[in-house]
């Protein structure tokens, strides 16, 4: 698909945000968004893993699976490759970049086989992006994830103090808040003509 990289970026970052528009990757979205600090770490980890994962699965799909007519194997092989890769990177970081490891440490294994990551690797294939757009899409999706999870963590920190009736406390009110934020993001529809 021939589409300008800028459009791809805005589409993945805001217009078709992975959390609020596609509703993929809800487990970290609700699980880790209780504090701004943890959601920031998670966001960084997602950007990092997402870029890595799309970069490694792109050649595997186009140079192995397509020529061999084995497109149906993409789920299994992608999970295998992404999981091993993240494991490897984690070891590498632990050895060489201790600071970065301390910052991302616990989030890396959490996000490894998350549906947001796997979903992105599938989406770039379904949209038939070339390599540049693939990288832009992964970056935009990761940034979008981080933006939304931090926004949402800020909301949830305030929700903690709000007088909410007992039956709505915790996840129920979080889901309601998420859908309202999602509605707000509908306002970005067709921003700069970016849609996929």
């Amino acid at each position: 698909m021939n589409i300008s990289p800028a459009k791809v970026f805005f589409a993945s970052f805001l217009v078709q945000n992975i959390l609020l528009m596609r509703y993929i990757g809800l487990c970290p979205f609700f699980g880790v968004s209780t504090r701004i600090s943890t959601s920031f770490g998670m966001g960084l980890a997602v950007i990092f893993v997402m870029l890595l994962a799309t970069l490694i699965t792109y050649p595997i799909y186009h140079f192995f699976l397509v020529p061999l007519n084995l497109e149906f194997l993409r789920t299994a092989s992608f999970i295998l490759v992404i999981a091993s890769l993240v494991q490897f990177v984690e070891m590498f970081l632990k050895k060489s970049y201790r600071q970065l490891y301390n910052a991302l440490g616990i989030y890396l294994p959490l996000i490894t086989t998350n549906c947001a990551i796997l979903g992105t690797t599938f989406l770039v294939i379904d949209y038939r992006f070339h390599l540049l757009n693939t990288i832009i899409f992964a970056l935009g999706t990761g940034l979008g994830f981080m933006l939304v999870i931090i926004l949402f963590a800020a909301i949830r920190e305030k929700l903690d103090y709000a007088p909410i009736s007992h039956s709505f406390k915790g996840y129920p009110i979080a889901f309601i808040a998420a859908s309202l934020v999602s509605l707000a993001f509908l306002g970005f529809a067709n921003l700069f003509g970016a849609s996929l």
């Binding site: 295998l80 070891m91 103090y161």
Partner: protein, 333 residues
Amino acid sequence: MIIISILLLGVLGILMATILTIAHKKLAVSVDEKVSLLTKVLPNANCGACGYAGCENYAEAIVKGEAEPNRCTVGGKEVAEKIGEILGIKVEAKEKMVAVLTCQGGIEECKERFFYDGHLDCKEANIIHQGMKACPFGCLGLGTCVNVCPFDAIKIDKKKRLPVIDENKCTGCGICVKECPKGVLKLIPKTKLVYLACISPDKGKEVREICKVGCFACGICVKVCPYDALKMEKNLPVMDFEKCTDCGICYQKCPTKSYVDKVKKRPYALIDTTCNGCGECVKVCQFKAIEGKPGERHKVIIEKCVGCGECFRVCPVKAITMVGALGYTKKEV
């Protein structure tokens, strides 16, 4: 088709496994053995009471010699001893502390000056005219301490609107003490059972007007304390925990009940018929709770007896028993 797919996935799997195995060997980080051992011993609550970000960081600091090994208040004596074993040195444990609320002014005792309808957070309420409580030093009870406690040890009593600390869960990390904008939370030794629950340095009259349970510095407790453990400073009795024996006389005599006595039931002495009237117990009793003529069976005035057990210890004929001493089992924490 099937064979190719099996082959492809198999090869991929083997490839990844090989890479990971090699990486595991090559990139293995040599963690100091002592650090990992210490991390296992530490409580791993990562509360930060020791001043380090987490238990692992603290363990590293111990091994490097930057931190003393007895900083962990959560683990207390046991952990300190284990750390000593690992390092091969003797470690003296810090006394176990527990957080207490030094304010008893619930909404019944200490009225609210205005209705606060803002964020349910003490720090934010405190900005507005020092909070809605009539007493500017009183607990606001909005639960900032509840939110910051990493051990889930604090709850709000809804009737009184005051936090209640679960002593079994409290580890004495002191986070709530730091976060409380009013400074009404305090760390005291876990073995101490009696403490003053008021921090208002205001003069007697002012305190009396706004709070039913506030200390108005009458000084009765200072006079009545047989162990000299109390001293009047800035309109408040200050307790010397070294001297205090938890007898609870200050709690009993306090006209406003500003003290808190954690002993649920105190024992009292009972003198049986074997008493020969030697009078040793009368001499030793600080509370004048024993009377009787020399040579005759003595009697304990139960209302005055605080159950300190001094007479029990000195009686030469073992005529004294302590009755209803259940409260004292709590002391062996």
